[in-house]
C-alpha cells in the first residue's frame, strides 16, 4: 500500500514539476495564481498550453508502460520493448504514410488506423520471422525485431525524403520520429485519458493469463491456457496500446523497456499489480523527461525521444550486461 501512495504522490509531484518547468520557470505562487483563473498571458500559457501537454505526457508515458509490460509478458523477455520489436517503428511508418501520402479519408481517422495497422503488422512480422527461423527465444526475437525496425525506418526515411515538401507535413513527421508530446486540445486530452484508462482495463484483463504464460509455454498449456491464441490476442492488445502512445507522443524510446523493470522492483512480477505500477512509472518518467526536454537548453526544446533515449540507452546496456552475466 505504501508503494502505491508513493507512486501516486511521485506522479502528482512530477506533474507539478512539469507544469512549472520551462525556459521560464514558474514559482508555486505563479502556479496557484494561474490555477485560480488569472488571465495574465503567463498564467494562460500555463493553463492553456503547458498543463494539457504535461497531462498528455503522463498519459503517453502510462501507455508506454502498459505496452512495454504486455510485450515483456507475452515474449517472457525482459528486454522486449515496443521500440525494439518493431511495433513502434511500424506505427511510425503508418503515421508517416498517413501524413505524407494523399489519401481519400480524413487524416484524423487515417493516422491512428494506419499507426495501429503498422504496429500490429510489424510485430506479427517479427514473430513470424523468428518462428520461420526457428528462434522464438529472446535473442531470435530481438534480432528479427532489429532487422524489421531497420527496414521500417529506412522505408520511413525514404518516404520523408521523396514526399516531403519542406513544409508542415515533414515537420510533423520529424517531430514524430524524434518523439514529442504535442499539446492537445482539452477534448482530445479527454479522449487520450479515456483511451489510457481503456488500455489499462484491457491489459488488466490479460494479467492473470500473462502470469500463467510466464510459467513457460508447456506449463501454461497444462494450466489450461490456449497459448497460441492468447499470444496473438495479447500482441494485438499490446500493439493497440503502443499505437495509441505513438499516435500522441511519437517515438519515445526506452520508456516501454524501463518502466516495467522499475515497477517490478517496486511491486514484484505478478501482472495485476505490475501493469498499473508500470503505467504510473511510465507516466512519471515521461512527465519528467518532457520537463527536461522543455527546460534544459533554452531557448531550444530538445525532442522528448532524444531525452528518453539518452537516459534509457545506458539503462538498457545495464540490463543487458546483468542478463549476460547470469
Amino acid at each position: 500500500m505504501r508503494v502505491w501512495s508513493l507512486l501516486i504522490l511521485a506522479l502528482l509531484l512530477s506533474i507539478l514539476i512539469g507544469a512549472a518547468a520551462g525556459h521560464d520557470w514558474m514559482s508555486a505562487s505563479d502556479l496557484l495564481r494561474a490555477l485560480a483563473g488569472d488571465t495574465d498571458l503567463r498564467s494562460r500559457l500555463l493553463i492553456d498550453w503547458r498543463l494539457p501537454r504535461v497531462l498528455a505526457a503522463a498519459c503517453v508515458g502510462a501507455l508506454l508502460g502498459l505496452g512495454g509490460t504486455v510485450f515483456q509478458g507475452v515474449f517472457r523477455n525482459p528486454l522486449a520493448e515496443p521500440y525494439l520489436l518493431g511495433s513502434a517503428g511500424g506505427a511510425a511508418l503508418g503515421a508517416t504514410v498517413a501524413l505524407l501520402v494523399p489519401l481519400a479519408a480524413p487524416q484524423s481517422f487515417v493516422l491512428p488506423v494506419l499507426a495501429f495497422a503498422g504496429a500490429w503488422g510489424a510485430t506479427m512480422l517479427v514473430i513470424g520471422i523468428s518462428r520461420v527461423a526457428g528462434a522464438v527465444d529472446a535473442a531470435g526475437m530481438l534480432l528479427a525485431g532489429v532487422a524489421v525496425a531497420a527496414v521500417l525506418s529506412a522505408l520511413r526515411s525514404f518516404l520523408m525524403l521523396a514526399l516531403s515538401d519542406e513544409t508542415v507535413s515533414l515537420q510533423i513527421v520529424l517531430s514524430w520520429v524524434l518523439g514529442g508530446v504535442q499539446t492537445p486540445t482539452w477534448p482530445i486530452l479527454g479522449l487520450l485519458a479515456a483511451i489510457s484508462i481503456a488500455c489499462l482495463v484491457l491489459t488488466l484483463l490479460l494479467a492473470g493469463r500473462l502470469d500463467v504464460l510466464g510459467l513457460g509455454e508447456t506449463m501454461a498449456i497444462a494450466f489450461g491456457l490456449n497459448v497460441n491464441r492468447f499470444i496473438a490476442f495479447a500482441v494485438l492488445a499490446g500493439s493497440a496500446v503502443v499505437a495509441a502512445a505513438v499516435a500522441f507522443g511519437g517515438l519515445v524510446a526506452f520508456v516501454g523497456l524501463a518502466s516495467p523493470h522499475i515497477a517490478r522492483w517496486l511491486v514484484g512480477p505478478l501482472h495485476r499489480p505490475l501493469l498499473p505500477a508500470s503505467a504510473l512509472v511510465g507516466a512519471i518518467v515521461v512527465t519528467l523527461a518532457d520537463a527536461i526536454a522543455r527546460s534544459a537548453l533554452p531557448p531550444a526544446e530538445i525532442p522528448l525521444g532524444l531525452v528518453t533515449a539518452v537516459a534509457g540507452g545506458p539503462f538498457f546496456i545495464l540490463l543487458l550486461a546483468r542478463r549476460l552475466r547470469t
Partner: protein
C-alpha cells in the same frame, strides 16, 4: 539626409494613427487579424527578420532565432529558438503582439498552435519563388500598419528585377548547378526547381541543369554527368577550391573553363530583400556586362 528622411517617414508611418484591425490571409490560408499595428514583433528566421527590418521596423522586433545574422541592429534581441527548435515559453516571455514564421525546422509546427490558443497573432509566410518574397513584403507592410512602405519597397525591388530581366532577355542561358551544401556522406545538396533559389537562378538568366526531381541530395557523380556550363558554390572560395580540387572535378567543363563561382549564401539562401542583390550578381556571372553574344 536620405537616412533622416527615411527615419522621419518611418516614424510617421509607424505612428498608430489608424487603429482599425487589419486582416490578411497567410500561406496556410489562415486568416490573421491584428487589432492595431503590432509594436512587439517576434520574427522567426533571418528572412522574416530582414523583411521586417527592411520596412524600417527593426526597433519593433523583440525576438529572433539563433541563425539570424543581419541586420546588425537586431542581433542583440532575445533569442527564442535555434537549431533544436523554438520555445513557446521564450516567445510568450517577449509578450509579442505579432509572430512571423516560416514553416521550416519545426517552427510552424511548434508555434502556430500555441500562439493561436493564447490569442497571439501569428502569420505564416512561404517563399517558393521570387514573386512570393515580394508579396510577403507587401503583406507584412499591411499587417504592421505600414502598407505604403511595403508597397514602395516591393515595387522598387520589382523594378530592379525587371531591369535584370531586360538585360538577360534573349541571351543564351547557361546550364547551372548550384551546390548549397555538402553532407558528411559525400552527397551534395543542390538547388532544386520550385524553390526561390531555383527561381533566382532562372531570373538571372540561367538554366537549372537538374530540372526535375524533388530530392535535394545528389551524388557528385550526378553532377559530373550533368556537366553544366556553370558551377555555383554557395559559400566561400576556400571551401569551393577544396571541393573542386577533389578527384574527378577537374574533368568538368565548368572547372576547365573556369566558370566556377562562389556566391553569397545570405543573398541566395535567405528569401528576403537581399535576394534581389543576389539575382543581380548572378546575372553578371551568367552574362558578364562586357561580353557580347
Amino acid at each position: 539626409m536620405i537616412k533622416t528622411a527615411v527615419l522621419v517617414g518611418a516614424l510617421v508611418l509607424a505612428a498608430p494613427l489608424r487603429a482599425e484591425p487589419v486582416t490578411v490571409r497567410d500561406a496556410f490560408d489562415r486568416s490573421v487579424t491584428v487589432p492595431e499595428p503590432p509594436q512587439r514583433i517576434v520574427t522567426i528566421f533571418a528572412s522574416n527578420t530582414e523583411m521586417v527590418a527592411a520596412l524600417g521596423l527593426a526597433d519593433r522586433i523583440v525576438g529572433i532565432e539563433a541563425y539570424t545574422r543581419y541586420p546588425p541592429e537586431v542581433l542583440k534581441k532575445p533569442l527564442v529558438g535555434g537549431r533544436l527548435g523554438f520555445s513557446v515559453d521564450e516567445v510568450v516571455a517577449q509578450r509579442p503582439d505579432l509572430v512571423v514564421v516560416t514553416p521550416s525546422r519545426q517552427a510552424a509546427n511548434q508555434l502556430v498552435d500555441p500562439m493561436q490558443r493564447l490569442g497571439i497573432p501569428i502569420v505564416v509566410l512561404l517563399q517558393r519563388n521570387v514573386p512570393e518574397i515580394l508579396s510577403n513584403i507587401r503583406l507584412l507592410g499591411r499587417l504592421t500598419g505600414v502598407p505604403e512602405r511595403g508597397e514602395l519597397l516591393a515595387s522598387s525591388l520589382q523594378a530592379r528585377l525587371d531591369k535584370v530581366d531586360q538585360r538577360v532577355a534573349g541571351r543564351k542561358k547557361p546550364s547551372v548547378i548550384m551546390i548549397t551544401g555538402r553532407l558528411g556522406n559525400g552527397l551534395l545538396l543542390v538547388t532544386r526547381p520550385g524553390t526561390y533559389t531555383g527561381d533566382a537562378i532562372v531570373r538571372a538568366g540561367g538554366n537549372l541543369a537538374f530540372n526535375a526531381g524533388t530530392i535535394a541530395q545528389v551524388s557528385p557523380e550526378a553532377v559530373f554527368n550533368a556537366d553544366p556550363d556553370l558551377l555555383l558554390f554557395a559559400g566561400n572560395e576556400k571551401d569551393m577550391t577544396e571541393l573542386i580540387g577533389r578527384p574527378g572535378w577537374s574533368d568538368m567543363r565548368a572547372v576547365r573553363t573556369k566558370r566556377v563561382h562562389a556566391v553569397n549564401r545570405a543573398e541566395l539562401l535567405i528569401p528576403g530583400p537581399r535576394t534581389i542583390d543576389g539575382i543581380e550578381r548572378l546575372a553578371n556571372i551568367f552574362h558578364p556586362p562586357a561580353a557580347t553574344q
